[in-house]
């Protein structure tokens, strides 16, 4: 057991840290709050292009496909440092983090040459079409279908919760190709051109008021057989690989984000008066603030253990569900603690001159509510832990 970074990991970190210090756009977060969706996306796009020019996108991808060939641990250092520097996310987040690695695992050489480089330089933006109105937790029940006509598939169906659907050029789409087969065995993973005739995108407005997500409709959309990733009717296995990446690596920098918010909340706790004294001196709030620290720290450490295991030769497994439950539920509790520290001011949103931190706390309070639903509900994660980790009989 050695929790220190190796000399190689330290060199990687220091080089990146220096680059970020010189390149992260100053004050972007404040501007971001008042920008339109399109302006926001433009900012993220510019940031990814800057990262790419300096060789900092797809750090874990093999160098043959334009990546940096970094170890998993270096990838984690990358995510942590980017979060620590308060840098914007990359515009093509899903492509770089999830879909690209899936193509690297399952794609033909031709597919790799065609798609991967343009993911990294953000020339082609990707979205992911998995969830449907009637297939959320029971993802394998999805009904969007692809029928083969000659050597072309005809796609019909309706996807929801598609991040960046309006900006996407391509979609990683999970569809049913064999309605007669058991539900997990009749699915196929497609790479679909979002500019094809028959694709319609509509914004989905969420409870925070923004539209991070869209609905995507496919009406007789034509996709050649060469757009299948992996084998026809093996889409479940290909799709699971994407979900595992989602649960294991996308969370790697969350503890840094939580810690940054936590440190800010502690500062506020010294200035906000609660129960006749600074919130930081109130014994009940001290207990709650300490508990949030304990939970953030325990999540960070559990994540480090999981990464060490995967790094030592494993592939991401169902343990990712443990991390997903830990971070999503602790964040909801943390946001409630923050609201108690801020008192009446906690409810003020962006646009109020009285709102602390331009209304960020009211936003994160609302946004955290989605955490235990997105990327697999807490209930489905506990089913996965119960069945795949503890070996209990499947409940459904």
């Amino acid at each position: 057991m050695d929790l220190n970074l190796t000399p190689q990991e330290l060199r990687f970190r220091d080089e990146l840290r220096a680059w970020l210090a010189a390149n992260v756009p100053a004050g972007w977060q404040k501007q971001y709050l008042t920008m339109t969706m399109q302006e926001r996306f433009g900012l993220l796009l510019a940031w990814q292009k800057k990262l790419h020019a300096a060789g900092w996108t797809g750090v874990a991808w093999p160098s043959a496909y334009g990546g940096r060939g970094a170890t998993l641990m270096e990838q984690v250092v990358f995510l942590e440092e980017v979060a620590r520097a308060g840098a914007p996310p990359q515009a093509n987040l899903l492509a770089v983090g999830l879909i690209g690695p899936t193509i690297i695992s399952y794609g033909t050489e031709e597919q790799k040459q065609r798609y991967l480089a343009k993911m990294l330089n953000a020339e082609e933006i990707w979205c992911q079409g998995f969830s449907e109105p009637n297939a959320g937790s029971d993802l394998a029940a999805l009904q969007t279908e692809a029928r083969l006509e000659g050597d072309t598939f005809i796609l019909n169906g309706h996807k929801v919760w598609t991040s960046y659907g309006w900006a996407a050029d391509w979609c990683a789409l999970l569809v049913r190709t064999d309605p007669a087969a058991p539900k997990h065995k009749g699915l196929t993973y497609f790479l679909v051109d979002m500019h094809s005739p028959g694709v319609t995108v509509r914004p989905l407005r969420q409870m925070t008021g923004e539209s991070e997500f869209t609905e995507v409709f496919f009406e007789n959309v034509r996709a050649p057989a060469s757009q299948v990733l992996g084998q026809v009717n093996d889409g479940w296995n290909v799709g699971i690989s994407t979900l595992m990446h989602e649960r294991n690596t996308l969370g790697a920098s969350l503890h840094v984000t939580f810690k940054r918010q936590y440190d800010r909340l502690v500062e506020l706790a010294h200035t906000m008066q609660r129960n006749g004294r600074p919130a930081a001196a109130d014994p009940v709030l001290r207990q709650k603030l300490a508990q949030s620290f304990v939970e953030i720290e325990t999540f960070r450490l559990t994540q480090m253990r999981a990464i060490s295991r995967v790094s030592a030769g494993g592939v991401p497994g169902p343990e990712g569900s443990i991390l997903k439950i830990l971070w999503s539920e602790l964040n909801q509790r943390f946001q409630q603690v923050a609201a108690e520290v801020l008192g009446d001011y906690a409810q003020l949103t962006e646009g109020s001159p009285y709102a602390p931190d331009e209304g960020q706390w009211a936003y994160t309070f609302l946004r955290a509510r989605g955490n235990t639903i997105e990327a697999g509900t807490s209930e489905i994660q506990r089913n996965i832990v119960g069945h795949f980790v503890l070996g209990l009989p499947k409940s459904y």
């Binding site: 057991m1 207990q287 300490a290 559990t302 480090m304 295991r309 089913n383 832990v385 119960g386 209990l392």
Partner: protein, 375 residues
């Protein structure tokens, strides 16, 4: 960065697992629990033969000179087995104080025998106010040629009955001091304090004008305080690891039961209400394990945040073990509420372990002092 047991640490864990399965299965721990009394000398000798009584201490005093992570591995397995031995009191508490504060002569006299398994010991810190903060020590040791006289009482002293010596926190002219007191000293009596954990007994130690020779003073003032703080850090990290072992066992027993117990024609583990309780037990055990091993590593590597890591681990494990015991009994239904079922032994241990070295609220306040208060 590698946050996992090394091969040799994993080997030690497997050895300890097999040792406790063979030497003291739960039925045996239960037998000893129902007939409390002196520690089983034969079992203690076997532990010493493994070298475990000297795991943390230098070889010149017959210790193994291993690290905190190895200690945590041993504690985890003892927690799993509910090992009915005074290991925490003798090795982590008394042993660490002797190691930190003793002169070479004192270490030869008291630490060597602990390492070799020839002696057992404990630490008497708490008094009527039941505070784990060393500032709370008020028992006076008065100068009286040729040494000191101690008159008063210590409470919540673990395994005092089977100890050969007690290291006692006291005040000499108002200054904190650590005294080694022979268990057989004239005027020293030990009374059980019957409590909910049946596998780790607590005692009240009455000191009626007990005379302590000057050479038994281990440390005074700042040195005594530093040794006590270091001991509490080490023992608390070890206890957190022990609690992880208990949680893991409760989880396994409960999952096994959920797979076999049938109601409505199905194993109850097929019902999501039961499955999700089991998943929550795993979350509690895994989170506690991460925090406990990190605390052990932080102490071993001299990390500046070691005290914070220890309080994080104890605050988390205290709540997590109680909740795990709670869910374990709930999964067992009526069976879980019977004396014959083993889960209540862990449920009892969970509550007692939460209190030992300060409960979750106590450690959250320590965390708050370190991360909320500005210097």
């Amino acid at each position: 960065m590698h946050f996992d047991l090394s091969e040799s640490q994993q080997l030690l864990k497997n050895t300890a697992r097999k040792f406790w399965q063979a030497e003291c299965p739960l039925a045996e721990a239960r037998r000893r629990m129902e007939a409390p009394g002196a520690c089983d000398a034969a079992l203690w000798k076997k532990i010493a033969e493994q070298g475990w009584t000297g795991v943390l201490f230098p070889e010149e005093f017959d210790g193994l000179g291993l690290g905190m992570v190895e200690m945590a591995v041993l504690m985890e397995e003892m927690g799993r087995a509910l090992a009915p031995v005074p290991y925490l009191a003798t090795v982590l508490m008394a042993g660490t104080l002797l190691d930190r504060a003793g002169t070479p002569a004192q270490k030869r006299r008291w630490l060597g025998p602990i390492c070799r398994g020839e002696a057992r010991a404990t630490v008497a810190l708490l008094e009527a106010a039941a505070s784990w903060d060393p500032d709370g020590v008020s028992l006076a040791a008065d100068k009286s040629a040729p040494g000191f006289t101690v008159n008063g009482a210590k409470l919540f002293v673990a395994n005092a009955e089977e100890a050969d010596s007690l290291i006692c926190g006291a005040r000499i002219d108002g200054e904190l001091a650590l005294l080694v007191i022979d268990r057989r000293s004239k005027g020293l009596t030990v009374e059980p304090m019957p409590a909910i954990d049946l596998t780790r007994q607590l005692y009240a130690v009455k000191l009626d004008h007990v005379e302590v020779p000057a050479e038994n003073i281990l440390a005074t003032g700042a040195a005594a305080r530093q040794a006590l703080d270091a001991m509490l850090e080490t023992a608390t990290a070890g206890l957190a690891a022990e609690m992880v072992g208990g949680m893991q066992r409760v989880l396994e027993i409960s999952v096994e039961y959920a797979k076999t117990r049938k109601q409505f024609g199905k194993p109850i583990g097929q019902f999501q209400a039961v499955q999700h309780m089991c998943a929550d037990m795993l979350l509690a055990a895994e989170g506690s394990r991460s925090a406990a091993y990190y605390a052990a590593w932080a102490i071993e590597s001299g990390a500046p945040q070691a005290a914070l890591a220890v309080s994080v681990a104890k605050a988390y494990a205290g709540d997590a073990y109680r909740e795990t015991g709670n869910r374990g009994i709930q999964v067992h239904g009526g069976m879980g509420f019977t004396w014959e079922n083993d889960v209540h032994l862990y449920y009892r241990r969970a509550k007692a372990s939460d209190l030992l070295f300060g409960d979750s609220s106590y450690h959250r306040e320590k965390v708050a002092r370190l991360v909320v208060d500005h210097d």
